[in-house]
Symmetry: D2
Subunit: 267 residues, 4 copies
C-alpha cells in the first residue's frame, strides 16, 4: 500500500479512490487504486513501465487501465430480448462506460434492435452439428471486432473451450437462479417445483464448469404460492436484467478481480 501510494505521489498523481483487501486464508493482498493524472509528471503511456520495478519488488500482478478508454464489449443473445435491450438502452443513453462493439445472435430476430441502437449485428446460427464451426466463427468475430468482454445476455448456448479459453474471466453470463441453487436447465421450473419463496438471478464469469464460475452479482425477488411458472419467468426477467447490468458495469469499471473461484468486487 505504501509503495503504490509513493509511486503515485512521486509522479505527481492524485489518489481519487483506493481500496485494499486481504485474503487471510490465501495470504494474498489485493488493492485497487484510482488516481488522477491531471497534475502528473509522467505520461499515461509510461505509467505501466514506470510501475514495473515496484511490481517486481513485491511480486505483484498488475493491471493498469485508463477510465477514459472504454472497453469494447460483445453482446450475445438468443431469442429473449430483455437483457440485450436493456444493455443497449444503457449504452445508447451513455450510462454504460463501455462501447458495444457488436451484437451477435444465433437468431436473426435481434438484428432490428441492434440496428436501431447503431451496433453492428452478426448472425451466427448454430445446430448441434455445426457447433464447432460456429464457435470458430464466433471467436473470429470477437477478434475481428476487437472485443475484450463478452456478455452472454441470455445466450442459451453452452460455450466450448475454443471460446472460453480465448476470453478467460472476460465472459459474463447471467443465470436465472440464485446459484448454487438450481443449476442447469429450466431453473424457474425447478424453483416452482421446490416451492421456494424467493427467486434469484446470478451474474458470473463463464468457465468450463457450467454455472460454477466466479459469482459477480446476485439478487432475489419474493414469490408466493400464487405465482405460476410464467409469473416466475416474468418476475425473473427484471432480476436478470438488473443483475447482469450491475455485473457488466463492475467489470467495465475495472472493479472486479477473479481469485480462485471467487470475485473481489471493489466498491
Amino acid at each position: 500500500m505504501h509503495a503504490v501510494a509513493e509511486f503515485v505521489l512521486t509522479h505527481g498523481g492524485n489518489v481519487l479512490h483506493a481500496e485494499q483487501h486481504i485474503d487471510r486464508e490465501a495470504g494474498v493482498f489485493f488493492q485497487r487504486v484510482e488516481f488522477d493524472l491531471a497534475t502528473a509528471t509522467i505520461d499515461r503511456g509510461d505509467v505501466a513501465a514506470a510501475f514495473q520495478p515496484v511490481a517486481a519488488r513485491f511480486g505483484m500482478d498488475v493491471s493498469v487501465r485508463f477510465s477514459d478508454e472504454r472497453p469494447r464489449i460483445a453482446l450475445l443473445a438468443s431469442r429473449e430480448p430483455h437483457c440485450l435491450g436493456d444493455l443497449l438502452g444503457r449504452w445508447r443513453s451513455g450510462e454504460l462506460p463501455a462501447e458495444v462493439a457488436v451484437v451477435i445472435s444465433n437468431h436473426a430476430d435481434n438484428a432490428a434492435i441492434a440496428a436501431f441502437s447503431g451496433a453492428p449485428f452478426v448472425h451466427l446460427p448454430v445446430t448441434p452439428d455445426t457447433r464447432a464451426a460456429q464457435e470458430t466463427a464466433l471467436v473470429e468475430t470477437l477478434h475481428g471486432y476487437d472485443v475484450e468482454l463478452v456478455v452472454l445476455a441470455r445466450y442459451m448456448q453452452v460455450l466450448g473451450p475454443a471460446v472460453l479459453d480465448a476470453y478467460p474471466a472476460q465472459i459474463i453470463n447471467i443465470h436465472h437462479s440464485f446459484l448454487p441453487a438450481f443449476v442447469g436447465a429450466k431453473p424457474y421450473h425447478q424453483a416452482q417445483q421446490r416451492g421456494v419463496k424467493l427467486i434469484g438471478a446470478t451474474a458470473h464469469y463463464a468457465t468450463a464448469d457450467l454455472d460454477e464460475g466466479p459469482i459477480i452479482a446476485q439478487d432475489v425477488a419474493a414469490v408466493t404460492h400464487r405465482d405460476s411458472i410464467d409469473d416466475l419467468v416474468r418476475k425473473g426477467r427484471d432480476l436478470e436484467t438488473v443483475v447482469l447490468a450491475r455485473a457488466v458495469r463492475a467489470h467495465v469499471e475495472h472493479r472486479t478481480l477473479v481469485f480462485g473461484n471467487k470475485t473481489i468486487v471493489f466498491s
Copy 2:
C-alpha cells in the same frame, strides 16, 4: 367459495377476510375464510359440526380454528441463543399470538432465559448412544405440555421418525441457508467457499428428508468478498431470527397450509 360464504351468512357470521387459491396443475381449490362470530346465531362449539355437511358435499378437508385460542408451542434450542431469545421476547411482549408451553434444550445453558421469560424448561441431553431414549423423552415432554407446534430454534439435532411422525407439518425448522442451496452441515462455510454475494435463511416444516421439507419463509442479506465466515455467521443470525419468527407467526395465525412438498401461506 359460494357454499362457505353461504354458511357464514346463514349463521349470522361476518366475513373479515377471505382468500382463495387454485392449484391448476393439481386441480385443488384452497380457501381460508376468517369470520367474526359476534353476531352469529351459532355457538362456537357447534361451528365444526354444522359445517360438516358442506364439507362433505364438496369433499373438503376442513380445519376450524378460533383466533383467541392461542396455540401451545415448544421451543427447542441447542447452544445458540438468538432465535430462542427472540421468540421468547416476542412472547413476553405479547406480540406472538401463541403460548410458549415449554423450552427444551439438549444443553442446560438456556435454563436462565427460559426462567427469566417465565417458561418451563426441560433439559434433555443427548449423545449418539442415547438418541432413541432422548427422542422418546422428547415426545413425552411435548405431549405432557400439550404442545401442538414444535419450533426448532437452532436445535442442532436431526430428529428421527419418532418425533417427526408425532408432529406432521407441526415442526418448523430454521436452516441457515437459502435452500435448496447449501443443504446439510456448515452452510455458511459452503457459502463462503462458493463466493456467493447473498446469504440466506429458510424456515421450513421438518420432514424425514433433511432440509427438503415445505418452505414457509426465506430471506437473504448481501455479503461481499470482505466477509469472513464469522461475518457470515453474524449476519446470518439476524436473518435466521426474523425468518423463523415470520414462519412461526404465519403458522400460529393458521395462515399456512401444506400441500405436497409446498406451502400455501395466506396473507
Copy 3:
C-alpha cells in the same frame, strides 16, 4: 361476498381468484373477483347488466372488465428515455397486458424509439406561454387515440386541471423519491443533501396536489457516502423503471382501486 359468489355460480362462471378487504375505519368492503366465462350461461356483454340488481341491493360501486380486452395506454415522456424505453420493450415482448396507443412527448427525441416499437408518436412541444394550448392538444390527442390510461414515464411537466380532470385516477406518475420524502424538484439533490442511506421511487396517481396522489408502488436502493448525485440519478433510474412498470401492470390488470387518498392493490 356471498352475493357475488352466488352470481357467478348462478351463471355458470368459475371463480379463478378472489380477494376481499375491509377498511374498518371507513366501514367499506372491497372485493375483486376474477372468474372464467368458458362454461358460463351468460354472454359477456350481458354480465354488467345482469349484475346490476346485486350491486343495487348492496349499494356497490362496480366495475366489470374482461382480461382479454387490453387497456389502451399513452406513454408521455420528456427527455429521459429509460422508463419509456422499458415500457415499450415490455409491450413489444408481449409482457405488458395493454396496448400502447400512442407515445407523446414535448421533445422530438423520442420519435425514434416509438417508431422502432411501432407506436404512433405525437410531438407536443410546450413553453410556459403555450401551456394551456398544449394541454388542450394533449387531451384531444388522448381522446383521439382512445386512451384510458396515461403513464407519465418521466414527463417533466406539471399537468393542469384540463388533463387531470379528464383522466381521474387514470394518470400514473413516477416520482424519483420515496414519497413523502423529497417532494418537488430535484429529489436526488435533496437526498444527497440530507445524507440518506437509501434512495427511492414512488409510482402514484397524479392529482392536483403535486406528489400527493395515491401511492401504487414504491421501492428503494442502498446508497453510501460515496455516491455522488450522478450516482444517485443512475441508481435511481433502475428503481424508477421497475416501480413504474409494476404500477402500470397492476393498473392494467385491474388490480388497483383508489379510495380516498390511498390505493388498494390486489395481489
Copy 4:
C-alpha cells in the same frame, strides 16, 4: 494516504484494512486505516504521539483507537423493550464489540431484563416539571459509568442541550420512519394515513434539531393496504431493532465519521 502508509510501515505495523473517501464538494479527504501492532516497533501507548507530526503536516483531524478496547455504552429505553432486549442479547452473546456500562430508563419495567443481562440499571423517572433535574442526573449517571456512547433504544424523551452537548456525535437515536419522511410524533400513523407501500426506520446521531441529525443506517419493509397501524408498529419493530443494532455496531467499531450533517460509514 502515502504519509499514513509510511507511518505504519516505519513503525513495523501491518495494514489490515484501509479505506479512503474524498468529498469533492467540500474538498476534504477522509481515511480509515486499520493496522496490526503485533510486529510493531512502537508501543501502543506511543502511537498517537508519534503520529502527531504527520497529522500536523497535513492538518489532519485524527482519532487513534484500539480494537480491543471496548467502548462503554449506555442503553436508554422507555417502555418498549424490543431494541433494548435485542442489544442486551447481542452483548450477552458476545456479538457486540462493546461494554454495556449501564441501562437507564424513565420506567422501572426494564430493571428485570437489565438484571438478567448483568447490566447495572438506573431508574430516572421524568415529568414535564422535572425534566431539567432529570437531565442533570442523566448526565451525572453517564459520567459516573464512564460512558462514551449513548444509545436511545426507543427512549421516548426529547433530550435537551445539557445532554446533547455532553455527548456530541455520541448519541444514537432510532426513529421509526424512513427519514426525512414522517418526522415527529406517531410516524406509523402518518405512514398509514399517507398510504405508503413501505415503512422504514432510521438510526441517526441525535442533535438539537429533532430527527434532523446525521443518518447512520436506514432500512424499509413492505406493507400493503391490509396493514393496520398495529401491523405497521409490529413490522416496524423488526426494522428498528436491526437498523439500530447496525448503527451501534458501526459506531463501536469506529467506522462512522460525522461531517457536517452527514455520516461517512466505512465498510
